[in-house]
Symmetry: C2
């Protein structure tokens, strides 16, 4: 910085002004400083820059390195953060790297706020974190005091799935649920409500959350032979396993329409091409950054309603055979 100042014939402070895009430098000088800077290959040291400032505008994000959905979210967070003038510090969670560890390392970097994607930490641990900075939990419905939650409206998601099938002409729609998995209750309720609202009686079969459970569910389905022309499943993994097995006996979508949930990478694969429910990552990200920003500037944030997901129609749904 000193060098740039010398070459441009100005003070260090002026160089700082120019690189911060702050007012207080003439156009001519600005150009001269920038020229000197690029000649010397100068880049401001980000850490030193933050040191002297009260606001670091740094948001710490923990994410699961294995979850494709977290990947999508991180991407969306980058643009949302940039738009709001924030910077992101990533810290990965993995089997060999605990969430608490990931959080600690973010704390060392003096992040202004913590954004936790699908955290497994206990409510009390989350509340404890709140003492030093705002905490925003994304994608998990936690009840922890002082913690902001941004998540998808799973009830609405199930409703979308049912409505999509109704609009195609289906009347007998089965839901294969997620049992006790997190979010399963809400999706099941959403399905039930949507069915009742349409004057139809809900029909729920026990499922699970893995491909293997999906395959089992398919066997049960074939065995019981319920009068369903369409099935909505708890998630894409379950749906994939279900599809794999069911296709040995039935044609999809001609004999049976299938809707998943999550829009995972697998569901997008051309040979699976599963109709599914997608979380709105852009909206989730924007909401997250907005929440962080409010907490950091104003007073407390009001809880906001969950974000509606969208339907992604692919090749596993069609009108029922007449």
């Amino acid at each position: 910085m000193e060098d740039v100042a010398r070459v441009a014939g100005v003070s260090r402070a002026l160089v700082s002004i120019v690189y911060r895009d702050a007012p207080g430098a003439s156009e001519a000088t600005r150009a001269r400083v920038l020229a000197a800077g690029s000649e010397l290959g100068y880049r401001p040291d980000h850490r030193a820059r933050l040191l002297g400032r009260t606001r670091t505008r740094l948001l710490g994000v923990t994410f699961d390195v294995q979850a494709p959905f977290h990947g999508d979210l991180v991407e969306a967070l980058y643009s949302a953060a940039e738009a709001a003038g924030y910077d992101l510090a990533l810290s990965a969670v993995a089997p060999s790297r605990q969430e608490s560890r990931a959080v600690q390392s973010l704390l060392d970097y003096r992040c202004e706020a913590l954004v936790l994607l699908g955290p497994q930490l206990s409510p009390s641990a989350l509340t404890a974190l709140t003492e030093s900075q705002p905490v925003i939990v994304v994608g998990r419905k936690v009840k922890a005091t002082g913690v902001d939650v941004v998540r998808t409206d799973d009830m609405a998601g199930s409703r979308l799935a049912v409505e999509h099938l109704l609009s195609l002409g289906h009347r007998s729609i089965l839901h294969i649920d997620g049992g006790k998995s997190s979010g399963a209750a809400e999706r099941r309720t959403g399905y039930r409500n949507a069915m009742r609202h349409a004057g139809l009686s809900p029909l729920v079969q026990t499922g699970g959350r893995t491909e293997a459970e999906g395959a089992d569910a398919a066997k049960t389905f074939l065995n019981d032979a319920p009068p369903a022309t369409a099935v909505t499943l708890f998630n894409d993994r379950l749906a994939t396993g279900f599809l794999d097995t069911i296709r040995q006996s039935l044609r999809v979508p001609q004999d049976l329409s299938v809707v998943g949930y999550d829009n995972t990478t697998i569901s997008r694969l051309s040979h699976i091409s599963l109709t599914t429910i997608a979380q709105n990552t852009a909206a989730l990200a924007a909401e997250t950054i907005a929440k962080a920003h409010t907490r950091l500037t104003d007073a407390p944030t009001a809880p906001t309603p969950p974000i509606p997901p969208t339907l992604v129609p692919r090749s596993t749904t069609s009108p029922p055979a007449s």
Copy 2:
């Protein structure tokens, strides 16, 4: 820090010594300082700490947020880096966030070295980066001066696949290749060499890299009906699509054994359970950190041989029907 010093009744320098685990403090004082620190909830500011030091011991890592393999690598890098006393700064690459952008942000944090996972940057761009700090490319075979490369031995991987099938008793083994995809040539050559070495004649069918191409390859295979009892494919995606279609006509592994490549998440799914070749992430990570360390301490590094992958036997391979 000031506060901790005051409470413990020592100087700031002593607090620094204690928190750095540096020699020069008596056990009694050390305990007293630590007690004062935890009472006040003190954590050293990581950025400030690095500022005053010549060595930051910070390694910048770019990774693709969508690639599961990068997730595995990042995890392995964390432990390898920790063992060597380095810290990691992550920067994600995504469709909306270019690699150059990810690299720039790492540069702002004054990383000592750059670790790029499967970078798409041109060799010249990579070499340019070398000017400011060591650059280590992981998983991609690039020829760029001054850039260290750490990657998997794909020839050995193909050999493993072939040897596995040979040991099961197969003699007619077909390779469905990746065409012009990166790494495809090496895997094809590895297959050819292994076959010739066993005194068998190689047989290659054109494939691709996606599930759809795999499905096409399966149709071609069924049509041509080559006398193969086993197939090795360019990668897991191709293999998945291939399996999906082939299973409608043949039993796997009874009628046909199938080996993929990459050990992707998909291949691990219970209902697919694909025998495949896994890259050794721990070894790749260790090698990467070692390379970075050598560059940062000693003189130039000697190019090291690619790292041998391992075979992951699952349910798509068995002895051929007699």
